[in-house]
């Protein structure tokens, strides 16, 4: 078999380029902790309203004793509930999403808050927003003929002015 020396050199350069990309991804993941949302956690979407975690009065922003901020939002044709939440800037915020019906996806433009919301599974994303702004929350997976109308709002407030809701205990367990 014949490989031209030039082609061999180019082969090494190609491997080097691919290796560089893989290396950067690994540094981001293992050192900076930037990962894709992958919690592999099941939930019964048909009985979402009967679970403790995603019952209506448990939705929205909650802060636990340690100050950890969790936002729980239900996605259903054609909206996100609650319709509006406010979170602080420059603070880690954990979003937990569940679908009541079909496949949805959600992202906040210009941020890395993005996840698919697959019925039967809970999606979890932790991120922090660098500066205060008003963001739309957009459904980004076709979920039916009303899909265009599926969106809602999120306000990121300055850390100093943000009013934390009274401390509540979280119910991360107890999903069925």
């Amino acid at each position: 078999m014949h490989i031209d020396p030039l082609e061999k050199k180019w082969g090494y350069i190609s491997i080097g380029m691919a290796g560089l990309f893989v290396g950067i991804i690994m540094i981001d993941s293992f050192i900076h902790g930037i990962d894709a949302p992958s919690n592999v956690e099941t939930i019964n979407s048909a009985r979402l309203h009967l679970t403790k975690e995603f019952a209506e009065d448990n939705l929205g922003v909650q802060v636990d004793e340690k100050g950890k901020i969790t936002v729980r939002i239900v996605a259903a044709r054609y909206g996100f509930f609650p319709k509006h939440v406010t979170v602080p800037a420059e603070t880690p915020v954990t979003f937990r999403w569940a679908s009541m019906d079909v496949l949805h996806g959600v992202h906040m433009p210009m941020t890395n808050m993005s996840t698919m919301i697959v019925p039967g599974y809970v999606s979890e994303v932790t991120t922090s927003f660098p500066k205060p702004a008003k963001y739309p929350l957009l459904c980004n997976e076709y979920c039916g003929l009303g899909h265009d109308h599926m969106w809602s709002n999120i306000t990121v407030e300055a850390k100093e002015t943000w009013q934390a809701p009274s401390i509540t205990k979280t119910e991360e367990t107890g999903n069925e």
């Binding site: 082609e7 180019w10 893989v22 993941s29 019906d101 433009p109 076709y142 003929l145 709002n153």
Partner: protein
């Protein structure tokens, strides 16, 4: 060899492909018009989603499958210099595939399969849609079988000889498609059809998405391989030179087939049902599969440089000017490679694991795949058609000048269409919306880009019509006869002592089986061990 029989078979397949293509082009232009919101009377979500579902199915499944089958038959007969083995089976495959398309078209066009071409459950289409899609795949398997048998028989008759590169790559694609389609076939047969028929009360969308992801990446290589075949076996000859390296071409096709399969989870980076480790493993594989494209870029550009220098080209880069830019095949590859460079750059962004969050399911994604599929790949389908039409019909090409204009306008239209599409994605616009209903300041920034996309779409539609016009005029109106045969490029370094692993797929199928087991066994089996909850149907 029965020349007329294979020409008729190939032409029939090509015509189904291109009729699907031109219908889908009209739908594409309607969609950019509807989506822009500039024409209120056009606005209708039911019509839009029926159209976008049909456009996707026609372009991604019908154009490609029939083009690949037609091209494969013609390549097999001309490169091996023998008739199609079992031509009755080939026509049966054609009929089954076409019947599947017609079946699927009924619910699609009546708005009962507006599930887009990815048909993610638990929304489901009318069951006829899935049966049609399954028949399309079954028909294409007959093509795979014929390709594999023809290579096997040729090898028995020519022991120790290297299989002609064009055929080697075609059979690589046949094996690729068998492996690729297994994922979606399992999803359709075991999940979607029983679910749509009401035999199953619930479905697990996590398992369905995992099986679909099995298919979702390698299928794009199934579509791309004919373009790469033209790069390697037609372009060097058309440019007036030689293929730089036959062995590296074979190696590139093998790596393409082997590593495009176990990497589908880069479509599931943002999904909750698969764990980070599996996603990262598939992510690494995704970067491995960039290597054959890097190698292809090198080999093909080196081949063109040889041709240009033989034509008197000089200098470090000024040889590019000495290429025969007025040869449709050569012009097409230059434009194709330009789109591949930008599309490939976008693809690396998509592949980059957590960075995918910035563009996932935004307008960037259709921008990307239009550039790399409708651009890089389909422009080579055009060039192949311009090259083969005179050979298959025995009539001279109706107008070479018009063909060159068509290729240029396709490139320009694709640039005008996909650049704003990518930008819209970076500005946060979701893909798959039929109108912008968000009462948010952000959306004001989207409007000029929507307008540019309409212009791009119009240029593309005009270009597509010219393409069909040239084929029709060549075949049915041209009076000038043509008597040329297909000319495959010869190699700059003659192939000596080709090792068996570069001339056969037995070893590689075993490697694929191992890699697929490694990357998919646990992610699929987990759904049977986890406490999962199915979803009830949402249909039409």
């Amino acid at each position: 060899m029965n020349d007329a029989a294979v020409k008729k078979l190939a032409l029939s397949n090509f015509w189904v492909a291109f009729i699907a293509f031109i219908l889908a082009c009209f739908m594409g232009e309607y969609q950019v018009l509807e989506r822009s919101g500039l024409f209120p009377p056009l606005e209708s979500a039911p019509v839009y989603f029926a159209s976008v579902s049909t456009h996707g199915v026609l372009m991604a499944y019908v154009l490609t499958t029939f083009f690949i089958m037609g091209f494969g038959y013609f390549t097999a007969a001309t490169s091996l210099k023998r008739p199609i083995w079992n031509i009755k089976l080939a026509w049966t495959g054609f009929a089954v595939t076409l019947f599947g398309v017609v079946l699927a078209a009924i619910p699609l066009l009546t708005g009962r399969a507006s599930v887009l071409y990815t048909f993610y459950p638990p929304i489901h289409a009318h069951y006829i849609f899935y049966i049609g899609a399954a028949l399309l795949v079954v028909g294409s398997w007959m093509w795979c079988y014929i390709m594999i048998m023809m290579m096997k028989q040729w090898k028995q008759d020519n022991p120790g000889e290297p299989v002609p590169l064009a055929m080697f790559a075609t059979v690589a694609n046949a094996f690729l498609w068998l492996w690729t389609s297994a994922g979606v076939a399992m999803e359709v047969v075991f999940q979607l059809i029983p679910f749509a028929l009401g035999w199953m009360d619930t479905i697990d969308p996590g398992l369905a998405r995992t099986l679909f992801a099995w298919t979702l990446h390698p299928i794009v290589y199934f579509w791309l391989i004919p373009a790469y075949i033209a790069f390697y076996v037609f372009v060097p000859k058309q440019a007036g030179g030689y293929l730089f390296s036959d062995e590296m071409a074979r190696a590139a096709f093998i790596v393409l087939v082997v590593f495009s399969l176990p990497i589908g989870f880069h479509h599931l980076y943002m999904d909750p049902e698969q764990a980070a480790g599996w996603k990262m493993l598939h992510g690494f594989g995704t970067f491995v599969v960039t290597l054959p494209t890097f190698i292809t870029g090198f080999t093909v550009i080196a081949s063109m440089e040889i041709a240009a220098r033989l034509r008197g080209g000089k200098g470090l880069l000024s040889w590019i000017g000495s290429l025969p830019w007025t040869n449709p095949m050569v012009l097409a590859i230059i434009l194709s490679l330009l789109m591949l460079i930008f599309g490939g750059f976008g693809g690396i962004v998509n592949a980059s694991y957590a960075m995918n969050a910035m563009i996932h399911n935004t307008a960037w994604v259709p921008g990307h795949f239009h550039l790399i599929f409708a651009g890089t790949t389909v422009i080579m389908y055009f060039a192949i058609a311009y090259y083969l039409w005179p050979i298959m019909t025995g009539k001279a090409l109706f107008s070479k000048k018009m063909a060159l204009v068509q290729l240029w306008t396709w490139f320009i239209g694709m640039t005008i269409l996909t650049t704003p599409w990518h930008i819209l994605g970076l500005l946060g616009q979701p893909r798959r919306i039929s109108s912008v209903e968000y009462n948010s300041i952000l959306t004001l920034a989207w409007e000029p880009y929507e307008f540019a996309m309409i212009v791009g779409g119009l240029v593309l539609l005009g270009s597509a019509c010219v393409f069909i016009y040239i084929l029709v005029m060549t075949q049915f109106k041209s009076t000038e006869s043509f008597s040329g045969e297909v000319e495959y490029a010869s190699t700059y370094h003659p192939v000596k002592n080709l090792p068996e692993f570069l001339n056969d797929f037995t070893l590689w199928n075993k490697v694929i089986a191992g890699l697929m087991a490694l990357s998919f066994a646990i992610p699929i089996l987990q759904f049977f061990f986890m406490d999962t909850h199915g979803s009830s149907p949402w249909g039409y």
